[in-house]
Protein backbone atom coordinates (compact mmCIF):
# COMPACT_ATOMS: atom_id res chain seq x y z
CA UNK A 1 0.00 0.00 0.00
CA UNK A 2 1.00 3.61 -0.35
CA UNK A 3 1.16 4.92 3.20
CA UNK A 4 1.92 8.40 4.46
CA UNK A 5 3.37 8.58 7.97
CA UNK A 6 3.11 11.95 9.70
CA UNK A 7 5.80 12.43 12.31
CA UNK A 8 7.97 9.87 10.56
CA UNK A 9 11.17 11.61 11.63
CA UNK A 10 10.52 11.17 15.35
CA UNK A 11 11.05 8.20 17.67
CA UNK A 12 8.05 5.95 16.98
CA UNK A 13 7.42 7.36 13.52
CA UNK A 14 10.90 6.48 12.32
CA UNK A 15 10.51 2.85 13.39
CA UNK A 16 7.09 2.64 11.76
CA UNK A 17 8.46 4.01 8.47
CA UNK A 18 11.34 1.53 8.41
CA UNK A 19 9.10 -1.40 9.31
CA UNK A 20 6.50 -0.56 6.66
CA UNK A 21 9.16 -0.14 3.97
CA UNK A 22 10.74 -3.45 4.97
CA UNK A 23 7.36 -5.12 4.48
CA UNK A 24 6.98 -3.83 0.97
CA UNK A 25 4.78 -0.80 1.47
CA UNK A 26 5.44 2.48 -0.34
CA UNK A 27 6.17 4.89 2.47
CA UNK A 28 6.19 8.68 2.59
CA UNK A 29 7.42 10.44 5.71
CA UNK A 30 5.47 13.71 5.96
CA UNK A 31 6.98 15.74 8.78
CA UNK A 32 8.01 19.32 9.49
CA UNK A 33 11.71 18.35 9.87
CA UNK A 34 13.78 15.98 7.78
CA UNK A 35 14.74 12.69 9.42
CA UNK A 36 18.07 12.64 11.22
CA UNK A 37 18.52 8.89 10.75
CA UNK A 38 18.68 7.24 7.32
CA UNK A 39 15.37 5.85 6.06
CA UNK A 40 16.08 3.55 3.10
CA UNK A 41 13.10 3.20 0.82
CA UNK A 42 11.21 6.04 2.53
CA UNK A 43 10.47 9.30 0.75
CA UNK A 44 10.49 12.52 2.81
CA UNK A 45 8.08 15.34 2.19
CA UNK A 46 7.99 18.45 4.35
CA UNK A 47 4.57 19.04 5.83
CA UNK A 48 3.27 20.55 9.03
CA UNK A 49 0.07 19.09 10.47
CA UNK A 50 -0.99 22.62 11.37
CA UNK A 51 -1.38 23.30 7.65
CA UNK A 52 -4.29 21.51 6.02
CA UNK A 53 -3.09 22.43 2.53
CA UNK A 54 0.35 20.91 3.08
CA UNK A 55 -1.29 17.71 4.28
CA UNK A 56 -3.50 17.50 1.20
CA UNK A 57 -0.43 17.81 -1.01
CA UNK A 58 1.48 15.27 1.05
CA UNK A 59 -1.38 12.75 1.15
CA UNK A 60 -2.28 12.79 -2.54
CA UNK A 61 -2.52 9.26 -3.91
CA UNK A 62 -2.12 7.52 -0.56
CA UNK A 63 -4.17 4.50 0.48
CA UNK A 64 -3.73 5.16 4.19
CA UNK A 65 -2.26 7.62 6.66
CA UNK A 66 -0.50 6.76 9.90
CA UNK A 67 -0.79 9.88 12.01
CA UNK A 68 2.03 9.89 14.54
CA UNK A 69 3.12 13.56 14.57
CA UNK A 70 2.42 15.24 17.89
CA UNK A 71 4.02 17.01 20.79
CA UNK A 72 4.87 13.83 22.73
CA UNK A 73 4.39 15.05 26.30
CA UNK A 74 3.30 18.21 28.16
CA UNK A 75 6.68 18.83 29.81
CA UNK A 76 8.23 21.26 27.36
CA UNK A 77 5.48 23.41 25.90
CA UNK A 78 2.77 25.66 27.34
CA UNK A 79 -0.38 23.68 28.07
CA UNK A 80 -2.59 25.31 25.46
CA UNK A 81 0.05 24.77 22.80
CA UNK A 82 0.21 21.04 23.59
CA UNK A 83 -3.55 20.60 23.41
CA UNK A 84 -4.18 22.87 20.44
CA UNK A 85 -1.33 21.64 18.24
CA UNK A 86 -2.01 17.97 18.87
CA UNK A 87 -5.75 18.20 18.45
CA UNK A 88 -5.55 20.52 15.45
CA UNK A 89 -3.05 18.13 13.87
CA UNK A 90 -5.39 15.18 14.18
CA UNK A 91 -8.35 17.13 12.90
CA UNK A 92 -6.40 18.43 9.90
CA UNK A 93 -5.15 14.93 9.07
CA UNK A 94 -8.70 13.56 9.12
CA UNK A 95 -10.13 16.39 7.11
CA UNK A 96 -7.37 16.07 4.52
CA UNK A 97 -8.03 12.33 4.24
CA UNK A 98 -11.74 13.06 3.87
CA UNK A 99 -11.04 15.56 1.11
CA UNK A 100 -8.95 13.03 -0.81
CA UNK A 101 -11.13 9.99 -0.10
CA UNK A 102 -8.37 8.19 1.81
CA UNK A 103 -9.99 5.22 3.51
CA UNK A 104 -7.79 4.52 6.55
CA UNK A 105 -6.25 6.54 9.35
CA UNK A 106 -4.15 4.78 11.96
CA UNK A 107 -3.49 7.10 14.88
CA UNK A 108 -0.78 6.99 17.53
CA UNK A 109 -2.79 7.65 20.65
CA UNK A 110 -1.27 6.83 24.02
CA UNK A 111 -1.71 5.03 27.29
CA UNK A 112 -2.24 8.58 28.40
CA UNK A 113 -5.75 8.46 27.04
CA UNK A 114 -6.27 7.35 30.64
CA UNK A 115 -4.23 10.33 31.80
CA UNK A 116 -2.07 9.05 34.62
CA UNK A 117 1.52 10.08 33.71
CA UNK A 118 1.11 13.84 33.67
CA UNK A 119 -1.82 14.27 36.04
CA UNK A 120 -2.12 17.34 38.24
CA UNK A 121 -4.09 15.57 40.96
CA UNK A 122 -3.79 11.91 41.95
CA UNK A 123 -6.45 9.40 41.01
CA UNK A 124 -6.87 5.61 40.94
CA UNK A 125 -8.10 3.68 37.89
CA UNK A 126 -11.57 2.20 38.29
CA UNK A 127 -10.32 -1.35 37.84
CA UNK A 128 -7.28 -3.43 36.90
CA UNK A 129 -6.11 -4.37 34.41
CA UNK A 130 -7.14 -1.25 32.57
CA UNK A 131 -8.56 -2.02 29.15
CA UNK A 132 -10.12 -0.23 26.22
CA UNK A 133 -13.48 -0.04 28.01
CA UNK A 134 -12.01 2.05 30.82
CA UNK A 135 -13.15 5.69 30.83
CA UNK A 136 -10.67 8.49 30.52
CA UNK A 137 -9.62 10.35 33.64
CA UNK A 138 -7.48 12.85 31.73
CA UNK A 139 -6.58 16.21 33.33
CA UNK A 140 -3.44 17.41 31.58
CA UNK A 141 -3.28 18.92 28.11
CA UNK A 142 -1.41 16.00 26.56
CA UNK A 143 -3.87 13.37 27.77
CA UNK A 144 -6.78 15.62 26.79
CA UNK A 145 -5.34 15.98 23.30
CA UNK A 146 -5.30 12.19 22.97
CA UNK A 147 -8.91 11.94 24.17
CA UNK A 148 -9.99 14.70 21.81
CA UNK A 149 -8.07 13.17 18.90
CA UNK A 150 -9.66 9.75 19.40
CA UNK A 151 -13.09 11.44 19.44
CA UNK A 152 -12.28 13.22 16.19
CA UNK A 153 -11.42 9.89 14.61
CA UNK A 154 -14.71 8.31 15.73
CA UNK A 155 -16.50 11.28 14.20
CA UNK A 156 -14.86 10.78 10.83
CA UNK A 157 -15.77 7.11 10.87
CA UNK A 158 -19.37 8.10 11.51
CA UNK A 159 -19.21 10.74 8.78
CA UNK A 160 -18.00 8.58 5.92
CA UNK A 161 -17.03 5.11 7.05
CA UNK A 162 -13.34 6.01 7.20
CA UNK A 163 -11.39 3.19 8.87
CA UNK A 164 -10.10 4.72 12.09
CA UNK A 165 -7.81 2.75 14.39
CA UNK A 166 -6.16 4.34 17.45
CA UNK A 167 -3.22 2.45 18.87
CA UNK A 168 -2.45 3.36 22.49
CA UNK A 169 1.22 2.62 23.21
CA UNK A 170 2.74 2.82 26.70
CA UNK A 171 6.42 3.60 27.35
CA UNK A 172 8.23 2.47 24.21
CA UNK A 173 11.61 0.82 24.77
CA UNK A 174 14.25 0.95 22.08
CA UNK A 175 16.45 -2.15 21.87
CA UNK A 176 19.50 -0.46 23.42
CA UNK A 177 17.56 1.25 26.21
CA UNK A 178 16.55 -1.81 28.19
CA UNK A 179 19.43 -2.00 30.63
CA UNK A 180 19.45 1.68 31.48
CA UNK A 181 15.72 1.81 32.02
CA UNK A 182 15.68 -1.43 33.93
CA UNK A 183 18.38 -0.14 36.27
CA UNK A 184 16.44 3.10 36.76
CA UNK A 185 13.27 1.13 37.45
CA UNK A 186 15.08 -0.98 40.02
CA UNK A 187 16.19 2.16 41.88
CA UNK A 188 12.65 3.59 41.89
CA UNK A 189 10.26 0.69 41.26
CA UNK A 190 7.17 2.73 42.04
CA UNK A 191 7.86 5.38 39.39
CA UNK A 192 6.59 2.99 36.72
CA UNK A 193 3.20 3.13 38.42
CA UNK A 194 2.63 6.35 36.50
CA UNK A 195 2.27 4.23 33.40
CA UNK A 196 0.85 1.17 35.18
CA UNK A 197 4.11 -0.77 34.80
CA UNK A 198 3.53 -1.22 31.09
CA UNK A 199 6.03 -1.31 28.25
CA UNK A 200 6.33 -2.33 24.65
CA UNK A 201 9.41 -3.03 22.60
CA UNK A 202 9.74 -0.53 19.77
CA UNK A 203 9.95 -3.38 17.27
CA UNK A 204 6.71 -4.91 18.58
CA UNK A 205 5.07 -1.50 18.43
CA UNK A 206 6.01 -1.01 14.79
CA UNK A 207 4.45 -4.42 14.14
CA UNK A 208 1.26 -3.35 15.92
CA UNK A 209 0.91 -0.29 13.73
CA UNK A 210 1.43 -2.38 10.60
CA UNK A 211 -1.09 -4.96 11.73
CA UNK A 212 -3.63 -2.18 12.29
CA UNK A 213 -3.00 -1.01 8.75
CA UNK A 214 -3.28 -4.46 7.23
CA UNK A 215 -6.37 -5.70 9.11
CA UNK A 216 -8.71 -3.91 6.78
CA UNK A 217 -11.76 -5.65 8.28
CA UNK A 218 -11.45 -3.41 11.36
CA UNK A 219 -13.56 -0.27 11.14
CA UNK A 220 -13.36 1.95 14.23
CA UNK A 221 -11.27 0.73 17.13
CA UNK A 222 -9.06 1.81 19.99
CA UNK A 223 -6.43 -0.76 20.89
CA UNK A 224 -3.81 -0.80 23.64
CA UNK A 225 -0.46 -1.72 22.09
CA UNK A 226 1.35 -3.08 25.12
CA UNK A 227 3.35 -6.09 26.24
CA UNK A 228 1.45 -8.76 28.12
CA UNK A 229 3.96 -8.84 30.98
CA UNK A 230 4.44 -6.09 33.53
CA UNK A 231 7.55 -3.91 33.59
CA UNK A 232 8.12 -4.92 37.22
CA UNK A 233 9.94 -7.50 39.28
CA UNK A 234 7.19 -7.87 41.88
CA UNK A 235 3.58 -8.82 41.13
CA UNK A 236 1.32 -5.82 40.62
CA UNK A 237 -0.87 -7.18 43.43
CA UNK A 238 1.97 -5.88 45.65
CA UNK A 239 2.92 -2.72 43.74
CA UNK A 240 -0.51 -1.29 42.93
CA UNK A 241 -1.55 -0.67 46.55
CA UNK A 242 1.85 0.92 47.24
CA UNK A 243 1.45 3.40 44.39
CA UNK A 244 -2.32 3.89 44.52
CA UNK A 245 -3.22 4.46 48.14
CA UNK A 246 -6.95 4.17 47.38
CA UNK A 247 -6.64 0.96 45.38
CA UNK A 248 -7.87 -1.46 48.04
CA UNK A 249 -8.14 -4.94 46.51
CA UNK A 250 -8.58 -3.79 42.94
CA UNK A 251 -5.35 -5.44 41.81
CA UNK A 252 -5.31 -8.44 44.13
CA UNK A 253 -5.73 -10.79 41.16
CA UNK A 254 -2.66 -9.43 39.32
CA UNK A 255 -0.28 -12.16 40.38
CA UNK A 256 2.78 -13.35 38.53
CA UNK A 257 3.74 -11.12 35.62
CA UNK A 258 0.22 -9.86 34.85
CA UNK A 259 0.33 -6.36 33.36
CA UNK A 260 -1.53 -3.28 34.56
CA UNK A 261 -3.06 -2.80 31.12
CA UNK A 262 -4.54 -5.67 29.14
CA UNK A 263 -3.44 -6.37 25.57
CA UNK A 264 -6.17 -8.96 25.02
CA UNK A 265 -7.84 -6.83 22.36
CA UNK A 266 -4.58 -6.41 20.42
CA UNK A 267 -4.16 -10.19 20.41
CA UNK A 268 -7.77 -10.80 19.47
CA UNK A 269 -8.25 -8.17 16.75
CA UNK A 270 -4.74 -7.89 15.33
CA UNK A 271 -3.35 -11.33 16.04
CA UNK A 272 -0.54 -9.59 17.92
CA UNK A 273 2.18 -11.99 19.06
CA UNK A 274 4.73 -10.31 21.30
CA UNK A 275 8.27 -11.13 20.24
CA UNK A 276 10.31 -9.15 22.77
CA UNK A 277 10.09 -9.69 26.52
CA UNK A 278 12.19 -7.59 28.88
CA UNK A 279 13.16 -10.65 30.91
CA UNK A 280 14.87 -12.15 27.89
CA UNK A 281 16.81 -8.99 27.22
CA UNK A 282 17.84 -7.48 30.52
CA UNK A 283 20.76 -8.80 32.56
CA UNK A 284 19.54 -9.32 36.09
CA UNK A 285 21.66 -9.58 39.19
CA UNK A 286 18.97 -11.07 41.47
CA UNK A 287 16.28 -13.56 40.55
CA UNK A 288 12.90 -12.12 39.71
CA UNK A 289 9.55 -13.82 40.00
CA UNK A 290 9.04 -16.39 37.27
Amino acid sequence: MKVVVTGGSGGIGHLVCIDLAQHGHEVINATRSAPKLPQPGVKFVQANTSDMGELVSAFAGADAVMHIAAIPNPMHNPAHVVFNENTEGTYNVCEACYALGIGSVIYASSINHLGLDFRYRDFTPDYFPVDEEHRTLAQDPYALSKVASEEVLHGFHRRCGMRTISIRPPAVILPDEYQRRFDANRRYPLTAGGFLWTYVDARDLATLFRLALEHTELEDEVIYGTAEDAWAERPLAELVPQYFKQAGNKAAHLTGTDAGVSNAKAKRLLGFQQRFYWRDIVKKRVTSIE
Binding site: P74, M75, H76, N77, P78, A79, H80, F118, Y120, D140
Partner: protein, 290 residues
Protein backbone atom coordinates in the same frame (compact mmCIF):
# COMPACT_ATOMS: atom_id res chain seq x y z
CA UNK B 1 13.44 29.53 44.59
CA UNK B 2 11.53 28.47 41.51
CA UNK B 3 13.10 30.66 38.82
CA UNK B 4 12.13 31.00 35.17
CA UNK B 5 14.99 32.07 32.91
CA UNK B 6 13.81 33.22 29.50
CA UNK B 7 16.51 32.91 26.88
CA UNK B 8 18.27 30.26 28.92
CA UNK B 9 19.57 28.57 25.77
CA UNK B 10 21.67 31.58 24.77
CA UNK B 11 25.25 32.37 25.72
CA UNK B 12 24.56 34.47 28.80
CA UNK B 13 21.53 32.31 29.53
CA UNK B 14 23.64 29.18 29.76
CA UNK B 15 25.89 30.74 32.38
CA UNK B 16 22.92 32.08 34.32
CA UNK B 17 21.10 28.73 34.34
CA UNK B 18 24.20 26.85 35.45
CA UNK B 19 24.94 29.39 38.17
CA UNK B 20 21.39 29.17 39.53
CA UNK B 21 21.25 25.36 39.41
CA UNK B 22 24.60 25.17 41.23
CA UNK B 23 23.16 27.45 43.90
CA UNK B 24 20.30 25.00 44.41
CA UNK B 25 17.46 26.81 42.65
CA UNK B 26 14.63 25.09 40.75
CA UNK B 27 15.25 26.50 37.28
CA UNK B 28 13.07 26.41 34.16
CA UNK B 29 14.57 27.56 30.88
CA UNK B 30 11.93 29.24 28.72
CA UNK B 31 13.24 29.32 25.21
CA UNK B 32 12.31 29.44 21.53
CA UNK B 33 14.30 26.33 20.71
CA UNK B 34 15.09 23.36 22.94
CA UNK B 35 18.60 23.75 24.38
CA UNK B 36 21.28 21.89 22.50
CA UNK B 37 23.10 21.07 25.75
CA UNK B 38 20.42 21.00 28.41
CA UNK B 39 21.75 21.83 31.86
CA UNK B 40 21.14 18.85 34.17
CA UNK B 41 18.69 19.91 36.83
CA UNK B 42 16.98 22.58 34.71
CA UNK B 43 13.77 21.92 32.80
CA UNK B 44 12.82 23.74 29.64
CA UNK B 45 9.61 24.94 28.02
CA UNK B 46 9.50 25.95 24.38
CA UNK B 47 7.88 29.34 24.08
CA UNK B 48 7.59 32.25 21.67
CA UNK B 49 7.89 35.17 24.09
CA UNK B 50 6.04 37.45 21.65
CA UNK B 51 2.93 35.36 22.39
CA UNK B 52 1.38 36.46 25.68
CA UNK B 53 -0.52 33.22 26.16
CA UNK B 54 2.64 31.18 25.85
CA UNK B 55 4.49 33.40 28.31
CA UNK B 56 1.70 32.99 30.87
CA UNK B 57 1.66 29.24 30.19
CA UNK B 58 5.36 29.10 30.98
CA UNK B 59 5.38 31.30 34.07
CA UNK B 60 2.59 29.19 35.52
CA UNK B 61 3.57 25.78 34.23
CA UNK B 62 1.81 22.57 35.23
CA UNK B 63 0.18 24.40 38.08
CA UNK B 64 3.29 25.97 39.59
CA UNK B 65 3.91 29.71 39.46
CA UNK B 66 7.50 30.89 39.30
CA UNK B 67 8.80 32.83 42.31
CA UNK B 68 10.99 34.99 40.10
CA UNK B 69 11.79 35.58 36.47
CA UNK B 70 15.09 36.39 34.80
CA UNK B 71 14.35 37.71 31.33
CA UNK B 72 17.17 37.29 28.81
CA UNK B 73 15.19 36.28 25.73
CA UNK B 74 15.75 38.79 22.95
CA UNK B 75 17.43 39.22 19.60
CA UNK B 76 20.93 40.14 20.82
CA UNK B 77 23.19 42.73 19.21
CA UNK B 78 25.45 39.94 18.01
CA UNK B 79 26.20 38.97 14.44
CA UNK B 80 24.36 37.55 12.51
CA UNK B 81 21.22 38.19 14.55
CA UNK B 82 22.19 41.85 14.75
CA UNK B 83 21.52 42.03 11.03
CA UNK B 84 17.85 41.20 11.56
CA UNK B 85 15.30 43.69 10.34
CA UNK B 86 15.14 46.58 12.80
CA UNK B 87 11.37 46.25 13.07
CA UNK B 88 11.83 42.65 14.11
CA UNK B 89 14.46 43.58 16.67
CA UNK B 90 12.08 46.17 18.08
CA UNK B 91 8.98 43.96 17.95
CA UNK B 92 10.55 40.87 19.45
CA UNK B 93 12.60 42.62 22.12
CA UNK B 94 10.06 45.19 23.29
CA UNK B 95 7.10 42.85 23.04
CA UNK B 96 8.84 40.02 24.86
CA UNK B 97 9.83 42.09 27.89
CA UNK B 98 6.35 43.60 27.95
CA UNK B 99 4.71 40.17 27.89
CA UNK B 100 6.98 38.92 30.65
CA UNK B 101 6.28 41.95 32.85
CA UNK B 102 2.56 41.77 32.16
CA UNK B 103 2.50 38.06 32.96
CA UNK B 104 4.36 38.76 36.20
CA UNK B 105 1.71 41.32 37.10
CA UNK B 106 -1.17 38.95 36.25
CA UNK B 107 0.33 36.02 38.14
CA UNK B 108 1.56 38.00 41.14
CA UNK B 109 5.24 37.21 40.58
CA UNK B 110 7.22 39.48 42.87
CA UNK B 111 10.69 39.57 41.30
CA UNK B 112 11.87 40.31 37.79
CA UNK B 113 15.38 40.81 36.50
CA UNK B 114 15.37 41.92 32.89
CA UNK B 115 18.28 42.47 30.55
CA UNK B 116 19.11 45.93 29.36
CA UNK B 117 22.46 46.88 27.84
CA UNK B 118 25.22 49.44 27.39
CA UNK B 119 23.22 50.08 24.22
CA UNK B 120 21.11 52.61 26.13
CA UNK B 121 24.26 54.72 25.71
CA UNK B 122 25.09 54.59 22.01
CA UNK B 123 27.13 57.83 22.10
CA UNK B 124 29.99 56.11 20.24
CA UNK B 125 27.68 55.79 17.23
CA UNK B 126 27.53 59.59 16.93
CA UNK B 127 30.82 59.50 15.09
CA UNK B 128 32.42 61.05 18.13
CA UNK B 129 30.45 64.25 17.85
CA UNK B 130 28.15 63.79 20.82
CA UNK B 131 29.57 62.87 24.20
CA UNK B 132 28.01 61.91 27.50
CA UNK B 133 28.10 64.71 30.08
CA UNK B 134 30.93 63.05 32.01
CA UNK B 135 33.00 59.91 32.52
CA UNK B 136 32.72 57.49 34.09
CA UNK B 137 29.31 56.84 32.60
CA UNK B 138 26.90 55.24 35.01
CA UNK B 139 23.21 54.69 35.65
CA UNK B 140 22.61 58.44 35.82
CA UNK B 141 24.07 59.16 32.38
CA UNK B 142 21.29 60.29 30.02
CA UNK B 143 20.16 57.68 27.48
CA UNK B 144 21.16 58.26 23.88
CA UNK B 145 20.19 55.73 21.18
CA UNK B 146 20.13 55.68 17.40
CA UNK B 147 18.72 52.27 16.54
CA UNK B 148 15.97 49.79 17.33
CA UNK B 149 18.18 47.64 19.53
CA UNK B 150 19.09 50.49 21.87
CA UNK B 151 15.51 51.69 21.87
CA UNK B 152 14.26 48.22 22.80
CA UNK B 153 16.54 48.27 25.83
CA UNK B 154 15.20 51.64 26.95
CA UNK B 155 11.73 50.16 26.50
CA UNK B 156 12.71 47.19 28.65
CA UNK B 157 13.87 49.41 31.49
CA UNK B 158 10.67 51.45 31.26
CA UNK B 159 8.70 48.21 31.32
CA UNK B 160 10.45 47.18 34.52
CA UNK B 161 9.51 50.53 36.03
CA UNK B 162 5.90 50.01 34.94
CA UNK B 163 5.78 46.62 36.67
CA UNK B 164 7.23 48.03 39.86
CA UNK B 165 4.84 50.97 39.79
CA UNK B 166 1.85 48.73 39.22
CA UNK B 167 2.50 45.89 41.64
CA UNK B 168 5.50 46.85 43.75
CA UNK B 169 7.42 43.89 42.31
CA UNK B 170 11.18 44.08 42.60
CA UNK B 171 12.29 44.97 39.09
CA UNK B 172 15.98 45.13 38.21
CA UNK B 173 17.43 45.98 34.81
CA UNK B 174 20.92 44.60 34.34
CA UNK B 175 23.11 46.43 31.83
CA UNK B 176 25.99 44.36 30.54
CA UNK B 177 28.55 45.88 28.21
CA UNK B 178 30.44 43.66 25.75
CA UNK B 179 29.89 40.15 27.15
CA UNK B 180 32.92 37.88 26.99
CA UNK B 181 32.67 34.18 27.78
CA UNK B 182 35.81 32.30 28.91
CA UNK B 183 36.35 30.74 25.51
CA UNK B 184 35.84 34.08 23.70
CA UNK B 185 38.66 36.10 25.27
CA UNK B 186 41.32 35.08 22.77
CA UNK B 187 39.10 36.08 19.86
CA UNK B 188 38.06 39.39 21.44
CA UNK B 189 41.63 40.27 22.38
CA UNK B 190 42.82 39.78 18.82
CA UNK B 191 39.88 41.88 17.59
CA UNK B 192 40.79 44.61 20.02
CA UNK B 193 44.45 44.58 19.01
CA UNK B 194 44.09 43.71 15.33
CA UNK B 195 45.31 45.58 12.26
CA UNK B 196 41.96 47.33 12.11
CA UNK B 197 41.14 47.35 15.80
CA UNK B 198 37.50 46.94 16.65
CA UNK B 199 35.83 49.36 18.99
CA UNK B 200 32.59 48.82 20.77
CA UNK B 201 30.19 51.22 22.48
CA UNK B 202 32.57 51.56 25.39
CA UNK B 203 35.82 50.12 26.71
CA UNK B 204 33.96 48.30 29.45
CA UNK B 205 33.20 44.60 29.29
CA UNK B 206 31.28 42.00 31.25
CA UNK B 207 32.81 38.64 32.03
CA UNK B 208 30.07 36.07 31.39
CA UNK B 209 30.63 34.19 34.64
CA UNK B 210 30.72 37.37 36.72
CA UNK B 211 27.60 38.53 34.90
CA UNK B 212 25.77 35.32 35.76
CA UNK B 213 26.69 35.85 39.40
CA UNK B 214 25.16 39.34 39.28
CA UNK B 215 21.89 37.94 37.95
CA UNK B 216 21.76 35.49 40.84
CA UNK B 217 22.43 38.18 43.42
CA UNK B 218 19.79 40.43 41.86
CA UNK B 219 17.19 37.67 42.05
CA UNK B 220 18.09 36.42 45.51
CA UNK B 221 18.35 39.73 47.35
CA UNK B 222 15.22 41.41 48.66
CA UNK B 223 14.16 45.05 48.94
CA UNK B 224 16.06 46.21 45.86
CA UNK B 225 13.06 48.14 44.55
CA UNK B 226 13.36 49.17 40.92
CA UNK B 227 16.86 49.91 39.62
CA UNK B 228 19.09 49.74 36.57
CA UNK B 229 22.55 48.32 37.28
CA UNK B 230 25.64 48.33 35.11
CA UNK B 231 27.46 45.01 35.45
CA UNK B 232 30.91 45.68 34.07
CA UNK B 233 34.43 44.92 35.12
CA UNK B 234 36.70 47.32 37.04
CA UNK B 235 39.26 47.48 34.25
CA UNK B 236 38.96 48.68 30.66
CA UNK B 237 39.23 46.33 27.69
CA UNK B 238 42.02 48.22 26.01
CA UNK B 239 45.81 48.56 26.14
CA UNK B 240 45.93 52.34 25.94
CA UNK B 241 45.09 54.53 28.95
CA UNK B 242 41.37 55.09 29.11
CA UNK B 243 41.62 58.90 28.97
CA UNK B 244 43.53 58.56 25.70
CA UNK B 245 40.85 56.25 24.28
CA UNK B 246 38.09 58.68 25.23
CA UNK B 247 39.84 61.80 23.92
CA UNK B 248 40.61 60.04 20.65
CA UNK B 249 37.09 58.72 20.13
CA UNK B 250 35.31 61.97 21.06
CA UNK B 251 37.77 64.51 19.64
CA UNK B 252 35.01 66.28 17.69
CA UNK B 253 32.60 66.52 20.60
CA UNK B 254 33.84 69.67 22.25
CA UNK B 255 35.04 69.89 25.88
CA UNK B 256 35.05 66.53 27.66
CA UNK B 257 34.65 65.89 31.39
CA UNK B 258 36.87 62.83 31.93
CA UNK B 259 36.94 61.50 35.49
CA UNK B 260 38.71 58.20 34.76
CA UNK B 261 42.28 57.35 33.89
CA UNK B 262 44.77 54.56 33.39
CA UNK B 263 43.26 51.08 33.48
CA UNK B 264 39.91 52.11 34.94
CA UNK B 265 36.81 51.33 32.87
CA UNK B 266 34.80 54.17 31.32
CA UNK B 267 31.60 52.86 32.96
CA UNK B 268 31.31 52.74 36.73
CA UNK B 269 30.13 49.60 38.52
CA UNK B 270 29.88 51.14 41.98
CA UNK B 271 26.08 50.95 42.14
CA UNK B 272 25.99 47.21 41.48
CA UNK B 273 28.73 46.61 44.03
CA UNK B 274 26.88 48.60 46.69
CA UNK B 275 23.38 47.24 46.00
CA UNK B 276 24.20 43.59 45.27
CA UNK B 277 27.46 43.05 47.05
CA UNK B 278 28.71 41.95 43.64
CA UNK B 279 32.36 42.02 42.61
CA UNK B 280 33.99 41.01 39.35
CA UNK B 281 36.37 38.08 39.75
CA UNK B 282 37.75 37.65 36.23
CA UNK B 283 39.80 40.14 34.26
CA UNK B 284 40.61 39.95 30.57
CA UNK B 285 44.26 40.00 31.61
CA UNK B 286 43.73 36.56 33.18
CA UNK B 287 43.08 35.24 29.70
CA UNK B 288 45.95 36.86 27.84
CA UNK B 289 48.46 34.48 26.32
CA UNK B 290 51.76 34.94 28.08
Amino acid sequence: MRIVVTGGSGIVGGFVVRNLVAAGHDVMNVTRRPPRDPVPGAGFVQVDTTEMGQVVGALKFRGKIADAVIHLAALPNVWPVAASLPTEVWRINALSVYNVAEACAQLGIGKLVETSSVNVHQYMRSGGTIAPPRWPMDETTPNWVINAYGLSKIAGEATARMLHARTGAQAISIRPALVIAPDEYAMRISQMRGDRPKTWLSWSYSDAEDLAEAYRLAIEKDDLGCEALYIVNDDAFTDAPIETCIMQAYRDAGPLDIGVKGHAADIANAKAKAMLGWKPRHSWHDYEKR
